[in-house]
């Protein structure tokens, strides 16, 4: 992954990012990803929150066709909890994009345009600025590195760096992608948005299989605070421009690699992060029980504050896993921090309190000792900066 990164790493895609005045700060806030074809297959996965933002309702609906020409994304406002008016705004935005693209020479309908939004929940978008911005961003569209990178910048909220990735297959096809936010797909700290592209010649069903499989072990395994966004969206579009038809296995692997890289970038840039933590649970009765246990530990505020303090407080890990609704024998639990055993048979081992956790990357492994199920979750510590950023977000 050393060559071109981002959504324009796949041939057949153009992108742009501009400052449309949606954000009060005047920073970039509107991005467009445009598929030049020749094919327009697409798939998507969306938040599982029952409270879904208007753009999620819109995009889920248009994706039922398995076909997309473009994705318009804005930061500076989530357009969530905005009622029927908010849904009309999402529709009007898609309509404006379709018209602008059509005027540019490619006949497009609103039903071929997905909409993604991120920012504060509850306010209507400034539609005069959004619609003026749509005209501008369509004119700005460029191929190559600049378009993709501009788009990646324009979807940032509390992100400090844009997130882009790409996989280039030796057979001449590519998968590229960008993302913003930090949190798991469905649960999310800030909203998580990601657009992935490929120039492989594949069907919407193939994209759907690859995207669901990849999201389940990448974005779904990133859990910063268990909080859940109304707007989380991941889209995968194919142009077929490479004319290469990869196997499903190769497509799955390429999409997984790009999603995994983007998830790692989101973890590293999570709000207030000072530690990158991977919680691995082994020896569970099943993989799904291991996942429940890993997620329970990763969400525990006392574990997360201890890690912020570089404190090898393994007792909190046992207390956390003890409330997971899984099969458990306290006397069989073993815990390691970065490979150093701190707890065996449910008891501390000599030197456990002296393990050095002042490093940035922490590998926390819990062996339940009762089966062969295993799973891992990426998470972060709970720091002062997390409290600072999130106590001042909307004001």
């Amino acid at each position: 992954m050393t060559r071109l990164q981002g959504v324009t790493a796949s041939s057949g895609f153009r992108a742009a990012g501009i400052a449309a005045g949606i954000k009060a700060s005047g920073k970039e806030d509107l991005a467009l990803v445009f598929n030049e074809g020749p094919e327009y297959e697409a798939a998507g996965v969306f938040t599982e929150n029952k409270v879904k933002a208007a753009p999620v309702l819109w995009s889920r609906q248009v994706l039922s066709t398995g076909r997309l020409r473009a994705v318009i994304l804005n930061s500076g406002g989530a357009n969530a909890c905005t009622g029927p008016g908010g849904f009309q705004d999402a529709h009007a935005t898609a309509e404006a994009v379709a018209e602008a693209i059509s005027g540019w020479g490619t006949e497009t309908g609103a039903i071929e345009v997905a909409v993604c939004s991120t920012g504060l929940i509850g306010d209507r978008l400034p539609m005069d600025k959004v619609l003026a911005g749509v005209t501008e961003v369509v004119h700005e569209m460029g191929g190559g590195i600049s378009g993709g990178t501009d788009a990646a910048h324009a979807i940032m909220t509390t992100d400090t760096v844009p997130k882009q990735s790409a996989f280039h297959h030796a057979d001449g096809w590519n998968v590229g992608g960008m993302a913003k936010g930090a949190g798991m797909l469905a649960p999310s700290l800030a909203t998580m948005l990601s657009v992935l592209t490929t120039d492989a010649k594949v069907t919407a069903a193939q994209l759907d299989e690859a995207l669901r499989a990849a999201a389940a072990i990448t974005f779904d395994r990133l859990d910063v605070d268990g909080a859940s966004s109304t707007n989380d969206t991941v889209l995968l579009l194919s142009s077929g421009a490479s004319e290469v038809e990869p196997t499903q296995a190769d497509l799955n692997e390429a999409v997984r690699l790009v999603c995994d890289d983007l998830a790692a970038q989101m973890q590293a840039d999570a709000e207030g992060v000072t530690k990158r933590v991977v919680v691995t649970v082994t020896g569970a009765a099943s993989d799904s029980e291991a996942l429940v246990a890993a997620r329970t530990i990763a969400r525990d505020s006392l574990v997360k504050t201890a890690l912020f303090g570089s404190d090898p407080n393994w007792g909190r890990v046992l207390a956390a896993v003890g409330i997971a609704p899984i099969e458990l024998d306290p006397d069989r639990i073993a815990v390691r921090f970065n490979g150093s055993p701190v707890c065996e048979h449910g008891m501390g081992v000599p030197g456990a309190r002296e393990v050095d956790l002042s490093v940035t990357d922490i590998d926390l492994t819990v062996d339940l000792g009762i089966g062969s199920g295993s799973a891992w979750i990426r998470t972060t510590d709970l720091s002062h900066a997390y409290v600072e950023e999130n106590s001042a977000y909307s004001s």
Copy 2:
């Protein structure tokens, strides 16, 4: 509740608290509550964490008789995750208390002595200090206000004030109690310990009914961070010294009032608290679904950091309730902060962003608008002080 507070508010009880050297700080760390009789009925509720501390295993076992002469409580060490040796320590402590009391003139067996511990998980207790302390604390036992208050001081860990309460019935019987910690029973920030006493003439079965009913709507409704202790214990002992036999309903109500008062004191003194928050959910499909929704909101880090920032960010409340596994119609949700409507029909109302939340007590009410179920949870904000205290706890 203006008269004598605490465990010695009930006649027939003596108590003491001393510094036994278990805490490195030299502060009080060993408490005893002694029932002089003539009756010795008792009931208890314990943590639901699968990882249970040795004193919980011990006390649960001795309580199967429905009878207790004494409770010995230590701060400065949880005696959790300490294996068979830790269980032997709990047993040895009860044995030492029984011997000391017997030597003092009242024949007592270890099986009549409950043990409670709180502090860091994973270390064995300094048994030389505990056992020497047991001899001392039995000699120190006094009745009246001093004994109960000394005991309430000795069980404190990160508590800044001792928590005591009492209810005095016009018929001449009393319920008194002390508590430490903050968190719900089962989940707990630090461990929650509470000992309640009554001089009413009641059976162990009556105590058990009153205690379970009271805990379910007081300690169980206090949820600071969803974290769960290995040591949570609430005990209720009766001496029968008043010779009054109250009705079950009167007993239930008296125990509930004392538990509710202690829970409110724990909320007010929770680690890092700057806001006392009550989350009330109404209009749910059932009371149990309302409770799930209230707990989900109360545990949401983004809601809690917003409250710390006095930010009426109702969108985060909707995002939080949207992940609760309950029946929900996003378009019917209404939210009020301290009585001011901020969201109706799932959308913001004018002026919602201007609601003043700079006060200490915050009443957050969410009406789901689909049924008649309701429930509430006491919680706190998520502050810098919470992160500070919990990132430096064991070091």
